[in-house]
Symmetry: C2
Subunit: 454 residues, 2 copies
């Protein structure tokens, strides 16, 4: 059984005053495994992540055993060097300048990495906000596409900008930010008395996996004097492939990026990088100079202490596991896994393109996320009325329910505002376990099986 | 060798196009261990954390292997239940109401947990800030003691309040917030045209480990209508001990708390809880309702999906490791480890109290952090002039340097504004490995050895 709904009563969840015997603990561990979702299965396509890389987990386990915090060189000498190396190579990959002209930090997830982008953009335009706050200044405006991730919304709330400061830029038929619409939105924000300061472009949107046109967006940002951040949490991994990195053309022209190797690439959860162009800005924007931790009279070069660049204090070591994966596989090893995932996704795309009952959301292959409606036999060849569409909206959740109860496979579903048929299935292909045609064939079979009598 | 400075050239840090053989990887892993700081040593007293709990690491390794995100029940069914149980028991420990009248979430570290407190306090007083931002509203004011953690400062910056919105309340001679000074600071903020909204009290201050008087502070907050958050990242663990939980008297009277089981208790890094009183506020304040992830038409009870309470999207599973520790040891097992750590710290305190060359920063035993100056033989019995104090300020860093180069022990040092002798040593006693008198004796011997000829 791959996946099962948890039988609450079968797990002795309650914590008590008394402890538990080792024998009992062993049984509990087995139950946890039994009732947990097997993300390592070749048939887990439910999220943008999947199985964990085998070197990644070795690095993660070692990190856990060495239990320390990434804030000072003093307590994390090796991890500090490994983090620096990953940052250097990632800056190079993007085409950003090296440290200290470029910089970066590991963050607890992509939402936090995107928030770093917003905070640095705000610091660049209004450094006094750090001390004086947003009270009494001209309201600011941020821009992201309607397909952009909701972390920008959450960030706008937390950072005190308010969700109304976000202008959702319209996308084209491919789900990409429309540069002309961005221009219009910027003009509109000025009309509304706001000061535009931050544009979030997306390289690999969450639902469709689309890539915003960075050269055009960058030109607009330069002309308007805006900070351009790229949420490449999903798509950044393609930079490692010579064949697919053109999807991110123009990435070097931007100010900052967020990248999640814990998605497609299979780094163990959490593994997210924020990377930025500009000397010292990461430190200047975030530093508080805590004297108990970042003593300046230590006997070593304290510029190796990275903690004051962070909004966190204690910071989990997320660098070592990714470093180990990269070291073991080399950039070329990553490239071949990525190419395989992409080619497998394209195989799936081509296989369902003209297949009865399948209808693609985007008619062109874009990335490792393939979205499609499944139209069960009973609904085929009928006029596609509003009622028909309403029924189609319920099909994906029903197929999903059958998948989960059967325990054989998991594929996600979602609605999307700009396409009118409601809920569709979203197939995600990742690098781990290495993607295969047989897994794609199995997915199609299962969908047809579960959808047959709907 | 316990600790060594890393020889950069001895580690093949550089990442390349080509991969690395398994044999080479094995050597690298050994080097990482060799050159890393051994936080699991009984002689690591350098931070507020130490060795990792053995059940904790089992839980951490299992979590890594099952590689998933805590955002939905769908992909983390067991982990969702374990997180809920830890939250329920933690609410009970504090004396907060149960779910749904109380709530909580695991966060990536105490700074983030404290920021949750600030965000919820802001939402409670000015819910419109979520949509409209801080522009044009009356400037807000936060309060924390001068011994409070710097995360409040970083939070004020990120959240758009500005660091000037923080009123640092004076402490008494024990490093505890002075309630009369809090009253004065609140009045002053009003005079300055600010709206007070948030008080951060500390249960276990970062440097001295002092406990703010919660009943008095709570009474002031109630009278003034302010949100009272308690940074009990360090001290919250004492709630598990019947003997020491009185240190946190009044904790149930507060609105929210941050607690880090990854400190004294030995949960693997990162393990931090934010807990709050009040139905739905955690969800209401943070929700963005992303339709692609938190579908409301799933076939199970979607109130189990916790992700929309979070500012993060993907969220590392931090609950399972702590749940397993608690399950295996029971609350009583924790209690005896905590009592042992506290009694050992008191043994250390008593041992150096009247010992030649040692001078305590606080003359009364408070918690598992004991701060003291070491006066080397050459400086004893002299008039304590400004020059003498200036020299004493350099002693702790020199002893620390010797410790690190020797590799036998690590104890931190820090200056503190309100005591005039500058840098002192800060001994931290944690639960893992279980605290022992012999480790304390060893620490005293080493300090005397390294300080002998200074």
């Amino acid at each position: 059984m791959l996946i099962t709904s948890v039988a609450f009563e079968q797990l002795p969840i309650r914590l008590k005053d008394e402890g538990t015997s080792l024998k009992e603990i062993e049984k509990i561990l087995q139950s946890i495994v039994r009732y947990s979702v097997k993300t390592s299965s070749p048939h887990f396509h439910n999220q943008l992540y999947g199985a964990v890389d085998e070197y990644g987990i070795a690095g993660a386990w070692l990190t856990e055993a060495l239990n320390t915090s990434q804030y000072t060189y003093e307590v994390a000498p090796v991890f500090t060097l490994l983090e620096r190396e990953v940052i250097e190579r990632s800056l190079e990959l993007i085409g950003f300048p090296k440290v200290p002209e470029g910089d970066g930090i590991f963050c607890p997830g992509g939402s936090m990495s995107n928030m770093y982008g917003m905070v640095l953009a705000r610091y660049a335009v209004k450094p006094d906000v750090k001390t004086k706050g947003l009270f009494g200044i001209q309201p600011l405006a941020c821009f992201t596409s309607e397909a952009g991730h909701y972390s920008i919304t959450k960030g706008a709330h937390w950072l005190g900008l308010g969700t109304e400061s976000i202008y959702q830029v319209k996308t084209d038929e491919w789900g990409r930010m429309d540069p002309q619409e961005l221009k219009k939105a910027i003009a509109k924000s000025r009309e509304n008395g706001r000061l535009p300061f931050f544009v979030n472009a997306t390289a690999g949107t969450t639902v469709l996996g689309s890539f915003d046109p960075l050269p055009e967006i960058s030109a607009i940002c330069k002309a308007e004097g805006l900070w351009l951040h790229v949420d490449m949490c999903l798509g950044g991994t393609l930079l490692l492939s010579r064949k697919y990195r053109t999807r991110l053309e123009g990435i070097a022209l931007t100010n900052s990026v967020a990248w999640n190797p814990h998605k497609t690439l299979g780094a163990p959860f959490q593994c997210s990088l924020f990377l930025v162009k500009g000397k010292d800005i990461l430190h200047k924007a975030n530093s508080a100079g805590a004297t108990y931790l970042f003593q300046q009279d230590k006997f070593y070069d304290v510029s190796w202490d990275t903690g004051d660049k962070s909004v966190q204090c204690g910071r989990k070591v997320d660098a070592a596991k990714f470093w180990l994966m990269w070291k073991a596989r080399g950039s070329k090893g990553f490239e071949s896994l990525i190419n395989k995932a992409m080619e497998t996704a394209e195989y799936f795309f081509n296989k369902i393109k003209n297949r009865k009952g399948f209808r693609l959301v985007l008619p062109k292959f874009e990335g490792n996320v393939v979205c499609f409606w499944y139209i069960p036999p009973s609904m085929r060849g009928l006029e596609e009325t509003e009622e028909w569409k309403k029924k189609l909206h319920t099909i994906a959740p029903k197929i999903k329910e059958k998948m989960i109860l059967d325990g054989s496979i998991m594929i996600g579903y979602t609605p999307l505002g700009f396409k009118s048929y409601g809920n569709f299935l979203r197939m995600v292909v990742t690098c781990q376990p290495p993607a295969s045609h047989s897994a794609m064939n199995f997915a199609i079979e299962q969908i047809e099986k579960f959808g047959a009598d709907l």
